[in-house]
Every structure is written in C-alpha cells, then in structure tokens.
Symmetry: C3
Subunit: 379 residues, 3 copies
C-alpha cells in the first residue's frame, strides 16, 4: 500500500495534455482563426475596453438635493392690487426641496367666508333643473361645497346650479392671462446636490469645495464659462426642459411639468384670517406654475475580480463552441471528411465494423450546436 | 529564415482537432446525453426563454409623481362649529407630491395665547408632587411648555401637574371619534407618474397621450372597465391597502400608513392670527389621517450581447464539467475501466511500468469535481 | 435506410472521450495543479463563500420614512419678546417627511407692509450713486423689491441704495447669535422606516412588531442598551453626523446639512395677517437650522440558479485557459519540448516533412494567450 500511495501522489503531478490531430485543411483553419480573432476582439475590445467589463457598478445612488430660488417680482392686477412676490411666496415648499413648484400665475379669491352661494356652472355635478337635483347635505362631486337642497335658476326653463354651503364667494372660473414668468429674467435657482454610492462608500457634491462664497454669490451656470457653478438661470432651465446637466460623473435631470395640461400644474392653498370679532375668513389662491423635479442619476464603477472572471471565462468557453463548429465543418462538409473522422475518433479494432455507423453519430447534436454557434456569431 | 517564416505562417492555418476515443459504453453515453440535454434545456428554456437572459436590465428608475385630490366635506362638531374641508385644507402638503397626508379626523384648539396654565396630566414629565418637581425654566419633556416652578394640585396629597408657560389653553387629550373619511365616497385621487430609465434613455407616463381632458375629468379607475384611467377612488385605494397597480410595465405601489398606531399618522400644525391690538393668538390643529406614499418600481430590459455571451458561455463551460463527470464514471466505475484508461491515456513505452500508478491519479481531484458536478445538477 | 438509422441512433449513445497524452513532467504538473487549486479556491472560497455568488441581489429598495420630533423650547429675544417653539413651529414641514428641517435660530421681521423703503446695502444690485442707477420698475437682483427710480444717499458723494417698493421695513441683515439648539437636550426624533424589495416581495420595518406603545414612548436609541428603539436624541444624531444606523439588514443614513455655509441651511417664510381695516401685513421669518435627509439603502440577496451557474461555469472555463497555458510551457519552454509536440500532435505520414514547420505554429497565438492567462492569474 505504501509504495502504491506514493505512486498515486507522484502521478498526480504528471501533466496530462490532450492529443490533437492535425488536419492540414486551410479552409477550416482560416475559419477557426477567424472565430478566435472575433471572440478575442469581442472580449478585449468590446467587453473590456468599451464596456469596462472588469468593473462592478453601483447604480443605487443615494442623493440629497437642496434648492434655493432668488428673485422678486411685482404684479399689479385690477382684482388684487399691487403684490410683491418673493421666493417665500412663489416657491412652494419654501424649504428648498428637490421637488419644487414655482408660481407663474395666480387667481386670488379674497375674503371668502363660510356661507351660501351658487355652485360654479363648470362643475358638472352642481348643475340642476329642480330642487330635487340638489339633495341636502350631499357634497358636490369635484365641487366647492355641500348642497343645501335648493336649485338656483335664472328662469323657469333654464339649467341652473345648486346652492351650496361653502366658502363664498366661490372662485371665478376664468384663468388669468398675465403670467408672472414673463418677467423673470433675474430669477436664479441654486441647486446643491450631494450623492453617495453606498457600495463603494464614495460621496461627492456638485458644489466644488474650492468654490468660495463670493463665487457662489455671483456666478451663473454656463456650459462653457462656468460649468461648475451651481446657480442656474430659470429662463435657461425652462428653455432646455428635460436637459441633463452632466456634472462630474453624475447627472442632474431637471424634469419639469408645465401648466399646459389643465389639471397638472396648478393647485390651491388658503390663508386664514380672523377679524376683530373672531370670525374666520380666508383668501384662496389658485396658483399655476412650473414644477421642477430634480432627479439624480449616477453610476459608479470600480475594478472587481468577479465580473472580470465572468466575462473572461464565458468568452473563453465560447472558443470551445467555435472549435466544435469547425469540427462539424471538417468532419461533415469537407471532401476528405471520412478520412478526418477516422483519424479524429480512435476505434478499438474489434469495433471496426461499426465505423460507418459511428460516422453519422455527431449529426444528432450537430444541427443544434451549429445553430447555437451561428446564433452567437450573428448577435 | 524566410522559408521558415512562411512555413510558420502557413501552418498557423492548419486546423488542429482533438483526438477522441470511442468507448462503446451505452450507460455512460446515455448519462452524458442526459447531462447535455439538461444543460441545453436550462440554457435555452430557463435562462433565455423564461428569464430573458439575453437582456440587460435597468432597475434604477427615475420617477416623478404628481397627485391631486378632489372632494369637499362638511363637518359640524360642537366645539368648532361648521367647517368645510376642501383639498386645500385636508391634503398636506397641498402642492401634490408623492407623499401626501389626507386628514380624516381633527382636534382643534382655537384661540391659544402665550400664557400660564397647567400641563396635561398625560405628559409623564409634567406630573409633580411639590414645587421642587417643576424647576423653573426647564422644558417639559414631550410636553407643551416650560415649567414655571409651581406645582398645581387639587389638594395636598394628590399628584398634580406643573404650571407651564406656553400656548394656553393646552390641547385636550381625548381623541375625537367621528372620522371625516366615513363620508368620503366622492373623494378621488389623480396620480400622474412619469418614469425614466436612464440607461436606455426611455421614458413613459401612466397618463396615456391619447387621454383627453374630458376623459380625465370623468373617468374612474377600474381594473376591467378603465385600466388606464389615472383617477382612483379613495375608498377603493384604502380597501386595497398595499395593492400594486401594475400599469404598462411599471408599478405604482400605493403604500399607506393608517392612524391605527397612536404615534404615526397624526401631526399638529398651527394657524397664527393677530388681533386688532397686534397680539398673536393661534389655532392649533391636531390632525389624524392616512398617509399615502406612492412608491414607483419598474424594470426595463433590452437585448445586450454581454449577458447573452455570459449566459451562453458559462452554460457551455458546464458541459465540460459534464464530460469530466462522465469520464470519472467511465474510468473508475465501469467493469472495463482499466481498458478505457489505457486507451484514453497514451503512454510512452518507457513509462509502461507506471501504468498502474497513473490509473489511480485522477482519484485525487475526482471527488471534488464529482461533488461540484452533482451539486450543479441538483440545484 | 432502416438499419442505418438504427445504427446512428445507437451510436449516439456511445460515449466519446478525449485522448490524453501523459507528459511525465513534474514541473508542469505542479504548475497545473497550482492553477487548478487557485481557481477552485477562488470559485469556492471567494465567489461562493465570501461574495455569496449563488445569490441574486436586489438593491432597488423602496422606502417610506415617517419622522416625528418632540420637544419644546422658549426663546426670549429683545426684538420679538417671549416665543414658545413647539414641533409645529420649528419642524418644517410639519407632516413628518424623510427630509426635514429643524429650526435652530431665527430672525423675525414683524409688521411688514407693502410700501417704500431703502434696499439693503448688502445687495450688490441695490447700490447706487445717482437716480439713473435705479431704473423704475426693475426688480433688484437677489433683492427685496422693485426699484422706484430714486437713489437714497446720506450725502452727495456717498454710495447709497435704491429706494424700493416692497415689504417694508426690510429684514435686518445681521444674523442672531443665540442658537436655539443650545438647549435641545430633550429633543427627540422618532424615525419609522418601512422598506420593500420589489424583486423578492419582501418588506420590513425598523419598528419591531413586538414594540409596545409604552416602549416607544419611553425608550431612547442606544447602540448597546436599546438598539431597536426608533427614537433618537437629536443631540446624539448631530454628534454623529453622517453616521449609518445599521439596523436589521438595512441602513438609515441620516445625512445632515448644517448652517455652516451661508447659503444652504436657511430659508424664509412669511405669515400673513389682516388688520381690522382689511389691510395685509406680514411677519417674515428667516430661519436657520439643520436639514436632516434620511436616506435609506439596503440590499437583499436570495439563492438563484443563474448567477450560480454563471460563476461556476466561467470559473471552470478558466481551467481550460490554465491547461492551455501549461501546454505552452510544456511544448515550448521544456527541454524535451520537441518530443512532447510530436506526441501531442498526431500527424499523417505523408505530411511528416512538415513537422518542423508545425512545431512553430502555436507561437502565433501563444503570447496572446499567455498574456491573458497571466493577467487573469495576477488580478
């Protein structure tokens, strides 16, 4: 046993190498070299050089965005008189989040009090022809108040609207046509973005550490002159709606929704007041505007052995498929194929009669493999 | 040198093919074909057809959500009198973000003024037995104001509460029991979602471009009748809490937190007023409600050669493991295995004595490989 | 045809195995075993055990965060008199979102009315030397109002500021120096986080289901004593700025921006009032504070056959590269390499004269492959 064991151990370090048969067939030889070159070109050129297949990537970016809008504007409408709009009024919410709404137009309904008035004719559910259409206590669908049971009509045959209990007078239904934004040349938005790639414990900000306060107070983003200034002209952003600001390996996508659609970029809010007698009244503001949604996308890559091995290994494995494909060509599509088959497949002498049968054997899987190999070459 | 070089170049295009030994052993042959079929079935059926292994996928979705709630409601509580709730009051924040809170109940504390009153008995840190328990100037932990140094008690031996300086009267501690939502049949929420897959520069919205304003004003989401209507009945959403609205390849998960837990779905806000003398008073509102958190998830796939090659190549590589496994069976587990070994491994004549030793050699790695192969078959 | 077909079918189940040549060369044998061991160690040890290569992972986490701050504070500044700050005042927004701003200092400008006053000297665009520097109707860039056309100066030669129409008096420009946060020992923040991994339909919350209301009312996060308490001391969080709270397989990163930079962590908001005569006035609040941005990151893994096969297959494929590399060493770098070449490559007798040429052939691709193999060994 002892010498046997030693022998086994020693023979484990003999090197065994596959035996090859040389087929002096230039056609298949060239084909095989072409397949090898294609695969090598793919692995090195495409996977490693172009697609950086040796990197693992992290796209689960963590991002924090702070925004700050600057600029004032005076409006003077007949209904509401002079009104000065600062960022504390036209930016909603005021605390500088990644999603912000900038008011560009408004409709004010001042001095609303709880009371009785007619529903707007534009609200479908508020229309009526008789009192029975306005069941008492039922809220008007998508309307302004609760029905009182009375139908207010101009004359007997017309269609009127239900009387409601709600904040009266109700909002006028026409939309004002003087957008504020027509005069916002001087509005600027400061966007500070901090990103972090948790997989790599790497973080970065779009505001350079070298940027001084003075620079940040006076600069204005410009692709050529000030590519690292985080202050953008509002008009400039609006002009490039949907533009990607690519900045130091990550991307700020400023996504905007404008008030072109009647139901998207407007909303209402109310300011409540109390008069000397303690009664509540309110000013309802319907504001139209632009919604900025600052979406951040980024991808970080870093060398990692696992994707490297995967890309290398699977590419090399396909070389085996290439040699299988060339074998098929050699053994079944060449003139001297019978000769090649006899040399490639070594038979025991006693089975020599079965040569003929064996020659056909590879046909069974060959079509499938040829399909696979051709498929992988065509892709 | 010149003829030699030409020879090398020419011979580079000779095709060399591996020499095979035919073992007319049907058991191992069937086993090998089974392994091949299993792997081919796995690669084609599972990886490519079922799991779309030829695609690269993008899950780092960028999403922007706009919401808009419609509906009014009248409440008439003994404390506060009639009160009309519109979306500008019960939706917080009003500007239509992806995270929104819909008030379903409230507790109003009107006319609070800065002054002196007793802390609530429910606040643990506000209880006292003597003045020394209420150090002057110290804030009550999780309380309503700052201790003044006095302990207010009914009689000598009872436990009282500290006097505080704060907004008085303090909020009553009981919770109102008439939820608004009991009558919200007509409340609807419009959810507009815009998604973008940055890797593929592909974007989409859940509001179809063919949807007209009229349709968007009158439709109501229904799985069967109106699957593309972005307006959902609030009651319907509440009923399906946590339901995934799968809509055109991306998913809106409407996540809700209800006010079942005492500390999650309520918060307070205050409205400030000034009286004629310029003194500030406020109305404190403690609101209970449902928090909707619209989370968007999506995955886009697109043909890419790299995952295709990886899946193909690694599958083919396992075929090599299959043939190794069959070799082990043939060379060590069959009756005629010595014969097969002699034919497979070609020896030089001078080393013929070592045949016996060599035969054992493969044992060294065989168990490991058999384990690996069997493992990969079992998975 | 019939017997032929049967023969083909039968021979398909013959097992064909590669013929090997034994090279009794211990150097190459040991090298090959080393390569095999390295690759096996890499696949099993690194890929499967360390990196869990048998798992597919989901990093596209969906997260919902609710926050709630508790604590009150009294400030008493000469300008504004006593003021009590509750969470409804100092937390913005009040509804408990993932991004929240906690006021730590403020500058109040009460009783502003629309009118005429001088622009602040700190605003660059508001400075003037003559009336012509203040074109009427033009907004002051980053200023407080609209120029009226007059330049207000102390004396003839000094630099003055434009008169503006805006909310007067304008905000004083100095920053108060008594931060509120100096006395926030008792402030706590409750962070409830709900996560979901859409790929695995798995969800979890950081608030344990076993946590009782009493526990949640009294506990305070401590790494050792209360690792599962979701209530954090504000001062503690500030101290660990940027700390990752790793809690049950997912991570809360509480990211903070402090008001160290003059333009990041402050903003303004206004409270509007109406006097008895219906005239509007407002209180402008400039608040300084800490912004908390609760970013959630997590990764879930689950066994999946596809990454398992990929890692296994591509590793095994590299074994083929290893044997190619050893062949190169054996056939070109050993003393008896000519002998080995003759045994490895079987030639037809008629081509025997070309032996010499063929021997050089492999040189053409060898350097490339050696490079690749060495590269993969070095990585």
């Amino acid at each position: 046993m002892a010498p046997d064991c030693r022998g086994v151990l020693l023979s484990a370090f003999d090197y065994k190498t596959e035996k090859y048969v040389i087929a002096k067939n230039k056609k298949v030889g060239v084909l095989y070299r072409l397949i090898q070159l294609t695969l090598l070109g793919y692995i090195i050129g495409w996977v490693f050089v172009m697609k950086k297949g040796y990197q693992e990537s992290d796209e689960s970016i963590q991002s924090s965005v702070i925004t700050k809008v600057k600029g004032v504007l005076l409006t003077n409408t007949s209904g509401t008189g002079p009104r000065l709009w600062g960022p504390e009024d036209y930016v909603i919410p005021q605390q500088g989040e990644a999603v912000l709404f900038i008011t560009t137009n408004f409709l004010e309904t001042p001095n609303q009090r709880l009371g009785y008035c007619a529903e707007s004719f534009k609200v479908l559910d508020g229309r009526c022809r008789e009192n029975g259409d306005c069941p008492e206590g039922e809220a008007v669908v998508a309307g302004n108040g609760v029905k009182t049971g009375r139908c207010l009509k101009k004359d007997r045959n017309s269609t009127g609207t239900c009387e409601i209990y709600g904040w009266c007078p109700i909002e006028r239904s026409h939309r004002p046509d003087v957008p504020l934004l027509g005069r916002t040349e001087s509005f600027t938005i400061y966007i500070k973005n901090f990103i972090r790639f948790p997989k790599f414990h790497f973080s970065k900000s779009n505001v350079l550490e070298t940027a001084t306060d003075t620079y940040l107070k006076t600069c204005l983003y410009d692709e050529v002159a000030h590519p690292y200034c985080p202050i953008f002209g509002l008009r400039d952003i609006v002009r490039r709606a949907g533009y990607d600001f690519q900045d130091m390996a990550f991307i700020l996508l400023i996504l905007m929704e404008r008030s072109t659609s009647p139901c998207d970029c407007l909303f209402r809010y109310a300011r409540y007041f109390k008069n000397a007698a303690g009664e509540t009244h309110r000013t309802l503001l319907k504001v139209y505007g632009i919604r900025f949604d600052i979406l951040v996308h980024g991808k970080a890559g870093k060398f990692n052995i696992i994707p490297t091995i995967i890309n290398l290994g699977s590419g090399l494995a396909l070389m085996g498929a290439g040699s299988f494909f060339c074998d098929m060509v050699l053994l079944y599509m060449m003139k001297k194929s019978t000769l090649y088959r006899e040399r490639k497949f070594e038979k025991d002498n006693k089975y020599v009669l079965q040569t003929h049968i064996q020659n056909h054997e590879s046909h069974l899987l060959a079509p499938l493999f040829v399909t696979l190999t051709v498929m992988s070459l065509l892709l």
